[in-house]
Symmetry: C2
Subunit: 161 residues, 2 copies
């Protein structure tokens, strides 16, 4: 069955959340997902959305993949795009939906004159890394991601205020 | 001389840009900074600012450090804060301005009920890493940062459209 790429809409939030959960399972951290469809509706489909989405939709209306992204700000380059999640249902891999979503995000960034698109990847996800590098993206060898999680943030604030 | 932390204002953009450049020199990539004070004014001090700043100001009005941050969106946690830059002038290190700026950003995140604060660090910057870890932050061992830069984005789009 063929698919097409379009902007995500309110009616897609359940499918988007299902894909978020499937990605978290793949990343071996399924219990980390605290988001609900209400959160997605409020945060992504209101007057000042905090993110945008593209979805891959089969001709019968089934959503088989999605990309979720938003603006960031580089003190070197100005406005950039961050690709937070890109996911295609496991049963629908290999038909080009992933590359089509990826291309749609890059096209959006290019149309909006963003000077960089950034995202994070797990270092053991060699399929993804090989694909990204084949398109001209660079996996930065010397930068690491730092997270202060909710629990440690609470602790830090309680100790310092 | 003592200092205080306050929200950055329009009048601070030259001092903020000077600190951005000083940080890029420290990171050994001084030619990467393309941003101007006009860009900072437009992007950070308009109706819908793309970032916020805190500055460390000495009693005579001199800006000796700054933190620049903005919202991101986690598909696991919802709204998060990203700390893009935190910099104190080299001649003003050791008086607590860095920790005060860092604490101000974490307090802002906590006050706004963000469930995560994230940032990137160079893997050879052990002083920074040791400090971050001492406050409860985690340097993620298995995530890597990926960038599609402007030149390669242009190339990808030209090849695919």
């Amino acid at each position: 069955m063929s698919f097409s790429i379009r902007t995500g809409k309110k009616k897609d939030v359940q499918a988007i959340l299902d894909l978020i959960v499937e990605l978290a399972i793949f990343e071996k951290l399924p219990n980390e997902v605290e988001l609900t469809t209400d959160d997605l509706l409020r945060d992504g489909f209101s007057d000042q959305p905090k993110f945008k989405t593209f979805v891959a939709e089969e001709t019968d209306g089934t959503i088989i993949g999605m990309a979720l992204f938003y603006e960031r700000y580089s003190t070197w380059k100005g406005t950039t795009i961050h690709l937070e999640d890109l996911m295609v249902r496991e049963s629908k891999r290999g038909i080009g939906a992933g590359k089509a979503l990826y291309t749609a995000v890059l096209k959006h960034a290019h149309d909006n004159e963003c000077k960089r698109v950034a995202w994070d990847v797990l270092d053991w996800n060699t399929n993804a890394i090989n694909f990204y590098e084949s398109t001209g993206a660079n996996v930065l060898p010397d930068w690491r991601v730092v997270h202060m999680n909710e629990q440690n943030l609470d602790k830090f604030i309680n100790e310092n205020f």
